[in-house]
Amino acid sequence: METWRLLRTFDGPAGWNMGLDEALLLLPAERPTLRLYTWDPPALSLGYFQRAADVPALARVPRAVRRLTGGGAIHHAEELTFSIALPADHPLYAGPVRESYLRIHATIARALEGLGVPASPRGDRPLASDRPSGGMCFEDSCELDLVWGDRKGVGSAQRRTGGRILHHGSIKLSPSEFDTQVASIRSRAPGTTPEQLADLLRLAFEKEHGIEFTEESPGPEELSHAEERAPHFTSDAFLRRR
């Protein structure tokens, strides 16, 4: 049985959230990490390569960051965010990027089954939530994305650097002001909290992949990296670098 570290860092500010994920990606680690977290206050995140001008919502949100991972913009409210950080040759991520998504999304779908949410990869289906002009992650989809009720409910993206991987994902509990088109967990399981979803995700990773988690807090080096780098992720220079 493999041991992973589980971090729960709920209600973190946007820049700190991204700084901590960068620490998980860049700092040496003995074990893979699954981090489950929420954002307080809510914020919009841009994908690494997105042009700021291509995301009209950016002008309307009070807070925004740019992620290290690719993909579209996400409004982080009414959701659980996860990040997975591990070596690129880990069996869960070995081989084509596409296959690693299938493995992780199958695990998330298993967790959602526990709430009666029938999540499955989009495949060739057209989605009612697709509106690609606004640059929002949940309004654009590919065949690997997890959907239910003809809407996208999980958005995720990876960063591969220095032999390590950071896999980010957002699982929507319900629509929010700037993510209005998403598939909603609460429409199937009213009252679901991020904490309940976090427990189900942990259980799914344990069952599907034989992982044993040790629940910990971020280490001192990770925390100081997150503090130090938080302003970078919210800075105009980084937000508007493209």
Partner: protein, 135 residues
């Protein structure tokens, strides 16, 4: 069989001598890992400006597929002499012809003997990739 006029790295870059310079690119295997045969899945590539000085192993750019952003690293130290800017606008080149049209950088190497012991010829790279595919 991949071209045998160049060397390959375990991180799926290739390097080829071109006069006093070295051409650098990524292999078909690297492209396949990123986009699984869907050439439209490659969405962005950021390459450096000519004149930039790079150390061996340094990140010189980034490439984004629909689902992953990955670093591009140079196996050879030197100064960027030329960049294949066509790639930035036409990413499909990387899927169609990663070994000729798909070169990314032309580098003037820091030392004439830029090859290292862990670089592989085409035959060794074939074996390496075959082994990676079965794991």
């Amino acid at each position: 069989m991949r071209p045998d006029d160049r060397k390959y790295t375990k991180t799926h870059e290739w390097v080829k001598r071109s006069g006093d310079n070295v051409l650098i690119g990524i292999t078909d295997f690297a492209v396949q890992e990123l986009c699984s045969g869907n050439e439209g899945d490659l969405v962005y590539c950021d390459l450096p400006e000519p004149g930039r000085v790079l150390e061996a192993g340094e990140t010189f750019g980034e490439i984004e597929s629909v689902k992953a952003v990955a670093d591009l690293n140079t196996p050879v130290a030197g100064t960027v002499a030329e960049v294949n800017v066509a790639i930035e606008e036409h990413l499909e080149i990387l899927s169609k012809d990663p070994f000729q049209e798909g070169w990314m950088l032309k580098i003037t190497p820091k030392t004439k003997n830029f090859e290292t012991d862990d670089m592989m010829d085409a035959a060794a790279y074939e074996e390496f990739v075959a082994s990676a595919e079965t794991h």
